[in-house]
Amino acid sequence: MSGVGRSGAGRRAAGFRPTVAEALAGLVLVLLLVAAIWPGLLAPGDPLAVSRTEAFQPPSLAHVFGTDESGRDIWTRVVHGAAESLRIGALATAIGIGLATVLGLLAGLGPRWLDFGTTRLVEVLFAFPGLLLALLFIVVTGPGVLSSTIAVGLATAPGYARIIRSQVRRTASAEFVEAARVLGRGRVWIVTRHVLPNVTAALFVLATLGLGQAVIWVSSLSYLGLGAVPPAAEWGAMLAAGRTYIASFWWMTFFPGLAIVAAAAAATVLGRGIQKRNRSAS
């Protein structure tokens, strides 16, 4: 009606120009991808090259992140670890979201009894908070990279399933779906042309946001010795290895951790950015 809210509009305005944080996050993501695909570009050395003479060197020009107990260059290991860490994180996210999409669609589109059953199942899985479901899974299958990845995927699925279900429900009862029904469109057509595409946009956001969390979780499991194990150049495993030396050689744990924080924060910023734009566009 009037000028109400104009004041806030400036702050909320989600133009398509990226903010400073989003530009930074994009840069981090590009660096991570480069590190994952062509690690040699950023760190030409061998991540497993042992050099007894250069053990425990603090950060310097020769070794910007320092060296570890076997004289391996930590910068090289962090760069080469990106591929493994991101792959595990992405796989875990894919498992979680894939499972959740099936559950969410069943609940959101199926008949009432199916919705009821699926929702209860999700509710029960939800009762095992976070890592607990993952740990329960690992105790059954035994530790390892694959089982910790699946465990994280499984543990995150209930949360995603809830979101997807409500998104499906919301879209399915939207006014534009009613308009399609008035035009004589059938259920299948409405689901494939209206509901799924609109839900996919939300899935993309979930996946981006989830990737950051998955990286944290998977590396946590590695840190606890339940996932990837040293000497693999995976960030969590590197941290676990550095744990012993924490009091004297801080750089061994500090820098791999920084990489995790950067990856998780970048994913969150980008995910939120997309979310904001989606919302303002609908």
Binding site: G3, E175, E178, V182, L183, G184, A281
Partner: protein
């Protein structure tokens, strides 16, 4: 006249170089009600809020004079400004549901104003709060004071908001669209209350987009458009003999009291579609559609339709023994307050909701209840225009995609032909062909509703269900859309079911009107006479609301 409570000279407001108010000057005397009328974006609200220093973040406000009761407002330090707000000047916003904190009892909100602007003790404040609630006409003030906005009805809330606004005994009250969210009978009560305030010696600055609201209560009317005041005078002067072209258009756009078939909007000169419209009806001359025989041309019949919703343990009767007939070239206006069952009736007609009892027939054959499959082939015969056009489009689709989808309805059609038909369709509703490439989000409200009408026309329908088609639009845009609908009806022999809460719109558009209350039709008759002598008390209240 003594010292005016508000004096504004050459007020200008700009946001980042964009000037939204320019050279506004006005005065409000004690015991006077001055109204600023304008459409959205005219700058009326920003002007009024500038008086309180609340024009908004990033606003640059300048004026050669801006005084409240002799005290200059511009450049006033924060503390003094806060004493002015709520103390000397009371503010009443629109829609109390969101303008009062939904988490706090209304009594607390009033008490806050008292705590800020009086030196009453806690007990005295409580007493005064109850007095104020009584003053604004609320029954059982003890209970109301404890209730939250969500627990009150729309009218009660708005009264509570007024009580909070006048608690500091202000000399000037600024009422910004105080009746916009309210049903018409409730509006009248709130306006009466503002009138009483004025009579008691308070200066009232009333902001509204609704001419009929202003007419009954204002002593002087200012018309504003594009940040500039273009007309000033008594309501009689402004509404009977407007001078400025904008005012003329605005006054002509009001549907209330204009006979059926009268043009509301000025004929545009650049649109082929509108030129065609000019030939078919002379501007300004009433052309009552000639109907050979009312018994013929029956398209849709509704027989004793009933629909009950079970909400928890309660049953809500949304439609109860509703019966009516829709005929070609005829409009049935269905009026009633929010929650009276209008939309449920529309959904049953559209086959989106099965009736619990009763039946709907289309061209003499069953339509509802019926399995969707049996209805689908005849779906093109019935079109729908929704209130909120924007949410009736998939946010991911362009206008072209929306129309192409509606045109083809699953059949394979050559793309070139679809494109041509879309262009033609857009022309029919007065839109340029290049609108097809845009998304509904980036269109204006009027354009969206035109697209929505275009979609409804795709199947070459016989019946259109119009659910509040213009209630989200400004008066002048509303006029254009109503004119468009009127023209289409005559050109295509359409039957309309027009659902609206706005009696003015209903009276202007309809041949027959049915009044719905709690799911039941309580009054019906020809539009020309239904409110001449209403039998049902509710219909009487409605009538009183439109003619004060």
């Amino acid at each position: 006249m003594s010292e005016p409570v508000l004096r504004i000279r050459d007020l200008a407001v700009s946001f980042g170089g964009r000037r939204v108010v320019d050279g506004v000057s006005l005065e409000v005397a004690a015991g006077e009600c001055v109204a600023i009328v304008g459409e959205s974006g005219s700058g009326k609200s920003v002007s009024a809020r500038s008086v309180l220093g609340l024009a908004g973040e990033g606003a640059r406000v300048t004026a050669t004079e801006l005084t409240v009761a002799g005290e200059p407002v511009l450049g006033l330090p924060g503390r003094r400004l806060r004493r002015l707000r709520g103390g000397t000047v009371g503010f009443i916003a629109q829609d109390a549901l969101v303008s009062l904190d939904p988490l706090r009892p209304v009594g607390r909100e009033i008490g806050d104003t008292l705590a800020l602007h009086t030196d009453l003790g806690a007990a005295a404040r409580r007493e005064r709060t109850l007095e104020l609630l009584r003053r604004v006409g609320l029954d059982d003030p003890e209970l109301r004071a404890r209730q939250r906005p969500g627990q009150l009805s729309g009218g009660q809330r708005q009264r509570a908001l007024i009580a909070a606004g006048i608690a500091g005994e202000p000399r000037l009250v600024i009422a910004d669209e105080p009746t916009t969210a309210l049903d018409q009978p409730v509006q009248a009560g709130v306006l009466r209350l503002l009138g009483e305030l004025r009579d008691e010696g308070t200066g009232v600055l009333l902001i509204s987009h609704d001419l009929s609201v202003v007419r009954g209560v204002a002593d002087r009317v200012l018309v504003m458009t594009d940040g500039v005041l273009v007309e000033e005078g008594t309501p009689a002067e402004v509404f009977e003999h407007p001078h400025h072209p904008y005012t003329k258009a605005l006054v002509a756009a009001v549907p209330a009291g204009r006979p059926r078939g009268t043009r509301l909007s000025a004929p545009p000169t650049d649109s082929a579609a509108e030129r065609r419209d000019d030939r078919s009806s002379g501007a300004g001359t009433p052309t009552t559609p000639t109907l050979d025989d009312p018994a013929t041309g029956v398209l849709m019949e509704v027989h004793g339709v009933r629909r009950v919703f079970h909400v928890g343990a309660r049953d809500i009767v949304a439609a109860d023994d509703v019966s009516f007939t829709l005929r070609a070239r005829r409009t049935l206006g269905l009026v009633g307050e929010s929650g009276s069952g209008k939309s449920t009736t529309a959904r049953i007609l559209l086959g989106l909701e099965p009736p619990d009892a009763g039946a709907v027939t289309l061209l003499g054959e069953p339509w509802s209840p019926l399995p969707e499959k049996a209805r689908r082939t005849r779906r093109p015969l019935v079109g729908a225009v929704f209130q909120d056009a924007l949410s009736s489009f998939d946010p991911r689709w362009t206008v072209g995609a929306v129309l192409a989808d509606a045109l083809t309805r699953g059949r394979t059609v050559r793309p070139g032909r679809v494109r041509r038909e879309i262009t033609e369709l857009l022309g029919t509703v007065g839109l340029d062909p290049d609108v097809a490439d845009r998304r509904p989000l980036h269109l204006s409200g009027g354009q969206r509703q035109r697209v929505s009408i275009a979609r409804a026309l795709t199947g070459d329908p016989r019946v259109l269900v119009l659910d509040e088609p213009v209630s989200a639009l400004d008066v002048s845009v509303q006029a254009q859309v109503l004119d468009l609908l009127d023209r289409l009806q005559r050109e295509r022999d359409l039957a309309y079911l027009l659902i609206t809460h706005d009696l003015g719109v209903a009276l202007h558009m309809s041949d027959e009107i049915a009044v719905l209350q709690e799911g039941r039709i309580v009054e019906r008759g020809p539009a020309s006479s239904v409110f001449a002598d209403p039998q049902h008390p509710y219909a009487r209240r409605l009538r009183d609301a439109v003619r004060p």
